[in-house]
Amino acid sequence: MRRFVRVAWLIMRKDLTVEARSRELLFTTLFFAMSIVLVFAFGFVRDGRPVENAAAGILWIAIAFAGTLALGRTFERERYHDVLHALLLAPVDRPAIYVGKLLGILALLATVEAIVVPLIALMFQAPLFRHPVLAVALLALGTTGFAAVGTLFAAMLVRARSRDVLLPVLLYPITIPVIIAGVRGTAALLQPDADLAMARMWIGMLGFFDVVFLTLSLWTFEPVMTE
């Protein structure tokens, strides 16, 4: 188990080191997410008043679209110079490679969310920080569920020629329950009189989705990566 954790940590640290040098994924993802928020702000804020419940939907659209962009690129560095085969030849539990890549993408999306969430709170006058623990739980669990499936699909499609088209086609139908749970839970928190029980129910649902998606991904990663 210690070795599994160490390998996952090594992969994540490597991804973050590469990203810190190139900032390619961070800037692209962040710019895209902020653009979504700004464009929707023009459509859904009239006379300084946002449309009811718009903030929750836009937050999760920004996370899903920006996340898809990031996921599409997460295995590109391994693909370009065939490093993926060197990783697969390494004497490690292959699911640890998956966990490392997932942690790397989660760190990236957390950074994007740290900027996009306050931006949405500002543009849509959304009280996202009124219940910070529940809001963070919703974001963390929702992003984990989305990225868990996305990382597996990105790995599956790394050798496919039309991977950029196939990733969203495969990813969105599977992750729709996660996105719906995220939107409903966030909307419950953003009501004038926050429905905390409803928010907790959706958090529980997201936790359940995460367990299912992570278990299936860890189970299928090795066969998926073996040619």
């Binding site: 490597k14 590469v18 190139s22 560095r77 065939d82 085969h85 060197a86 030849l89 390494a90």
Partner: protein, 253 residues
Amino acid sequence: MSSAGPSAATLDAVAVDFDQLKFSEVSRYFGRRRALARVTFACCAGEVVALLGPNGAGKSTVLGLAATILQPSDGTIRYGGYVAAEAGAPLRSRIGMLAHELQLYPELTARENLEFFAALSGLDETRARAAAALNRAGLGDRADDLVGGFSRGMRQRVALERALLHDPRLLLLDEPFTGLDERSSAALAERLSGLRARDRIILLTTHDFEAAEAIVDRAVVLRGGRIAAMATSGDSLRERYLASLRDEVEGAR
């Protein structure tokens, strides 16, 4: 050296080692395209075997199969008493591969690349090992430069050190002389001779017959995914290759 492997359950606790790589009737399909057809050959410890053949003959597929990255569609590959599906990670720890693509991160320095792969292999003192490997490659003074800024030959030397970091029993080299200048080619040939003397199994593909001449013990000539000839005579590597092609043409008449 083992002739019969232990059960999969005990493999983690056992240092997997082997003295022979044996392909038996191995075929490999990519979709409906046949890349290899019933290939049978063996390489033993202390032997350098060259896979020769034109582009698309199946040489890289043989290396991918031997590296356990690909699975055979048919037939078996044995590493002494082990098969890849049962032995898993402990077996992979005894295999090193230098692929045609050099499998290095260009955004990392040479030292970071080697430290990363050394750590993945579960080695200790990764910094010292990486430094020693870079010195062997003659790149000690470029250790902290990004690999993306290296020439093909320099990257090739770093990639070879990456493949050798964990002192593998089986070394698979896809066109190892590509991009190397004369001095580096001679150094590589000398390095491989040293590994052969230490009972390593070396399987390489090459089109550079002159560079490989001094080290190759045996040549397996592939053509269209089949073994066209096994060349072991004392002639030069180029002559052995050309003779095998002549034999194949005559045999077809």
